[in-house]
């Protein structure tokens, strides 16, 4: 066993793990947050995407021991004070999900991307989601959702700046 300290959605978890524990299994089984799904075994599908220190990673391809000392954000950490993240809201309004299995990972990939590129084109959104597979939506409404969220976040950012 190895001792790790990982902050998940702002809460510190100091615990022992079997070194072979994947970060996604640590999150699901030891932290008890089951929103992050596992869709493949080849780092292909992106269903397990979480943010590590703000950057999107595939939690099936990170060992829990590698997350020691890092901050992890999962889908459960997106909403703040009961308010949905603009990406969650946009996925809801634009029907960016059907079965919902890929959705947590898809949204985390989108959140990480919009931090880096707040004003993306449609083509940039599509390329940014190259590592996340969805079988239900044909991606059409996912792309619409991410573009809409970007606009909302820009408007909110503008207001925040104007207010500050």
């Amino acid at each position: 066993m190895a001792r790790i300290s990982v902050t998940v959605n702002g809460v510190a978890h100091d615990t022992d793990v079997d070194p072979r524990t994947l970060l996604v299994h640590f999150i699901r089984e030891q932290v008890g947050l089951t929103g992050t799904n596992v869709g493949c075994d080849t780092s292909s599908c992106g269903a397990c995407t979480v943010l590590m220190d703000g950057q999107s990673v595939k939690a099936c391809t990170v060992l829990a021991v590698q997350a020691d000392g890092h901050e992890v954000t999962t889908v459960e950490g997106l909403a703040k004070n009961g308010e949905w993240h603009p990406v969650q809201q946009a996925f809801h309004e634009h029907h960016g999900l059907q079965c919902g299995f890929c959705t947590p990972g898809m949204m985390m990939a989108a959140v990480g991307f919009l931090e880096e590129n707040p004003a993306p084109s449609e083509a940039e959104v599509r390329l940014a989601l190259e590592g996340n597979l969805c079988r239900c939506t044909g991606y059409h409404n996912i792309v619409v959702s991410v573009l809409a969220a970007a606009e909302t976040m820009r408007a909110a950012g503008g207001r925040a700046r104007a207010g500050g």
Binding site: R20, G46, C60, D68, A128, E130
Partner: protein, 281 residues
């Protein structure tokens, strides 16, 4: 799937990692970002007895642009390379290669050291580093040595690293060459069917010096010497196209699920043209 069991050691520094690797012998593997190794371990195609984790050695994570060369720490991620404005200005080829690797999540975790040391002929960075005449700085029990990129990749998934040696830095000389990396794949996240790295120097519009690195065209990343020679003096797309046909001299393109050997050879010719055009654009 879950990897087979292993022992895990976190190295305090490079020297400690070298010692741990040495002690672990052939069943020990180095872990950096883990994006070459962990996928194999999850499918249990790799089952090391010991993992030596150097991922926490932050002093190996840097991109330094110096007058004569660019020095890149082994733990610099693909994303670090792709997002470094300094690197893009000093060595566009490397930044343009890094931004095409895998997908964003892979680029956030995958490291240049891991990618190079894994020596996969289908990896993008090794082809670019060949075209850039990079050198690999490695550290082992007997100290530090430098290996030219041309000598580093010795076979499929085989490098010139000796047991217990760790790649710590990649150095790329600054030549002023214009560079581009063009790859052909069926999905954006896929490995390249063929990738071409072009580093081009020109006098006016005529090419004076060309280095072409090829990804997935043989058992190792390759240079295309015939093409490079033929490109010298080429002025304009017609001459570049003629030079690119020399890639047919390569006898090694693999045939697999994604492409036959002759299609690969053809693609390489097309991608060479496009890479040279993109480099000088």
């Amino acid at each position: 799937m879950i990897p087979a069991p292993f022992e895990y050691e976190r190295a305090a520094d490079v020297a400690a990692a070298v010692t741990l690797l040495q002690q672990g012998g052939v069943e020990a593997r180095l872990l950096a970002g883990g994006h070459s190794l962990l996928p194999l371990m999850r499918l249990r195609l790799a089952r090391p007895r010991l993992l030596v984790d150097i991922g926490g050695l932050d002093d190996l994570r840097y991109v330094r642009v110096e007058d004569e060369r660019v020095s890149i720490g082994a733990l610099a991620t693909h994303h670090d390379l792709a997002s470094s404005a300094q690197l893009r200005a000093a060595c566009a080829l490397l930044a343009r290669t890094a931004e095409q690797i895998g997908d964003p999540q892979v680029r956030h975790r995958g490291t240049i050291g891991g990618s190079v040391a894994h020596a996969d002929p289908a990896s993008d960075l090794p082809a670019a580093l060949l075209a850039l005449d990079a050198e690999m700085i490695v550290q082992g029990t007997e100290g530090t040595r430098s290996i030219a990129a041309a000598d580093f990749f010795v076979g499929p998934l085989m490098s010139a690293l000796r047991d217990g040696e760790i790649l710590t830095e990649v150095r790329v000389p600054r030549t002023g060459a214009a560079g581009a990396y063009v790859k052909f794949q069926r999905r954006a996240q896929d490995w390249a069917i063929v990738g071409v790295a072009a580093a081009i120097e020109r006098d006016g519009s005529a090419i004076t010096h060309a280095r072409i690195g090829l990804c997935n065209m043989g058992p190792t990343p390759l240079r295309a010497p015939g093409v490079e020679t033929a490109l010298v003096g080429a002025d304009g797309p017609g001459a570049v196209a003629t030079a690119a046909t020399r890639v047919a001299e390569l006898k090694t393109p693999p045939a697999d699920q994604n492409a036959s050997a002759d299609y690969r050879r053809h693609l390489a010719e097309v991608m060479i043209r496009r890479a040279v055009a993109a480099a000088v654009a």
